[in-house]
């Protein structure tokens, strides 16, 4: 029986992009459904009644919600190709720790950088750079967070880079200048097909952010 895999997603979502990369890396055929978040589909509301959010992976009719839960599900279900988490429990714990860190810090900082002004924005910019430097420390001399190859942490973080141009434009600063090592890692990831075909154009993301600012009356 063939697997039926559907990904309910929204094109600029960093969390959705994580799932796209993982599925592509493992060669899983799936149907991509882009949601209109102002007009959520019946399927989304049925598959994620609790949070009503994307991404949702629907595998043979059964939903999996929350991007990190989805990533681990994908890794465990299609375990024969391109394992994302390493096999050593300590390294797995480190990968999970850093993804947890990124999720707790980065998304909120990003939101503040594009949607606030003045002191709040300056603080967010400063903290974002500090976060990236911390991640640079974790990367060390390795080509990827996963070592020689793309791993769980790489897949989880690289989608945020599609929002960097928007952050830089809104915050009037350069992340490239402050965190060149991080940017170099982003470029290395983009050389991998499963990443480049899953990530969206940063200029399109900026266009989307401008629309959001207009819709929320943010100058």
């Amino acid at each position: 029986m063939a697997d039926e895999v559907i990904l309910l997603d929204f094109w600029p979502s960093m969390f959705g992009m994580r799932c796209r990369i993982a599925l592509a890396a493992k060669g899983v055929k799936y149907e991509y459904k882009d949601e209109d978040l102002r007009n959520k589909s019946e399927l989304l509301l049925k598959m994620n009644p609790i949070h009503k959010k994307i991404p949702v992976l629907v595998h043979n009719g059964k939903p999996v919600c929350e991007s990190l839960v989805i990533l681990q599900y994908i890794d465990e279900t299609w375990s024969d190709k391109c394992p994302l988490l390493p096999s050593d429990p300590y390294q797995r714990a480190q990968a999970r720790f850093w993804v947890d860190y990124v999720d707790k810090k980065f998304y909120e900082l990003g939101r503040k950088v594009w949607s606030t002004k003045g002191e709040e924005q300056e603080t967010a910019k400063k903290e974002m750079i500090e976060s990236l430097k911390l991640l640079e420390g974790e990367l060390g001399d390795k080509p990827f967070f996963g070592g020689e190859k793309l791993g769980f942490l790489d897949v989880a973080i690289v989608p945020f880079s599609t929002w960097f141009y928007a952050y830089e434009m809104c915050g009037n600063f350069s992340l490239e200048a402050e965190c060149p090592k991080f940017m170099a890692w982003t470029k290395r990831c983009m050389e991998i097909e499963s990443v480049s075909k899953s990530l969206v154009d940063p200029h399109k993301v900026y266009g989307f952010v401008l629309q959001l600012k207009k819709a929320f009356g943010i100058e």
Binding site: L68, Y90, F97
Partner: protein, 225 residues
């Protein structure tokens, strides 16, 4: 038994997150050394060294290598000591367990904290919202004895603290969060879980928990003035 090696746990007796790590270690009969941190004001240099990013407990140290964040620690414990497995085998069931663990931490606990830290009308609103999150948590049980079915699993160990935390908040604030009438399944589950011998014997004394958290509330309210 799997290799124990040297296992240390940096914790705080009043932390529910440290407690759930203790539950996991006890369930798997993993011997460990416990190091009590003098929180909140006197963090040891060991804690700051082992968890420089968050500077929080719990931290598990295994063969000298630190692991922070209690849910990350729970997964590490389950993968390192394979006896009495916490996560089920099936990927879909594992996803379910992880989902509810996350939900309790990200929705139920902050909602209960909001009840704790508010007063009057604001508190009444917070109570309604907290009860909503708890009702949703109850739906995860699907009418079973435990999240794991007949026996406990990862989700029970991860979310079990919600049961007693709700009662701490209820007692200190005089509100009602989990009641047998509107949440019969959750109410029964929380009592059933906390009665399990291994779980029960690790629980800090109730009056001390009340005293500790009442103290935190006083400090918090004072800081607002």
């Amino acid at each position: 038994m799997a290799d124990g090696g040297e296992v240390k746990l940096l914790g705080f007796w009043g932390s529910p997150y440290a407690l759930r790590v203790i539950w996991a270690l006890k369930l798997k009969q993993v011997p460990y050394d416990y190091l009590e941190e003098d929180l909140p004001n006197n963090k040891s240099s060991l804690l700051l060294q082992y968890n420089p990013v968050h500077k929080k407990v719990p931290v598990l140290v295994h063969h000298g290598k630190p692991i922070a964040e209690s849910l990350v620690i729970l997964e590490y414990i389950d993968e390192t000591w394979k006896q009495s497995p916490l996560l089920p085998q099936d990927p879909s069931e594992r996803a379910r367990a992880r989902f509810w663990a996350k939900f309790a931490d990200e929705k139920c606990m902050p909602a209960m904290k909001a009840v704790f830290c508010s007063e009057g009308e604001e508190q009444q609103k917070a109570v309604l919202e907290a009860r909503e999150t708890l009702k949703t948590l109850e739906s995860g049980l699907e009418g079973k004895l435990f999240f794991g079915g007949e026996t406990i699993n990862f989700a029970d160990v991860a979310t079990g603290y919600i049961g007693f935390w709700a009662r701490i908040v209820e007692e200190i604030t005089g509100t009602s969060l989990i009641d047998a009438e509107s949440m019969p399944s959750l109410d029964a589950w929380s009592k059933r879980f906390l009665e399990l011998p291994i779980i029960k014997e690790c629980m800090p004394p109730w009056d001390k928990l009340i005293e500790l958290n009442s103290g935190f509330l006083k400090m918090y309210l004072a800081s607002l003035k």
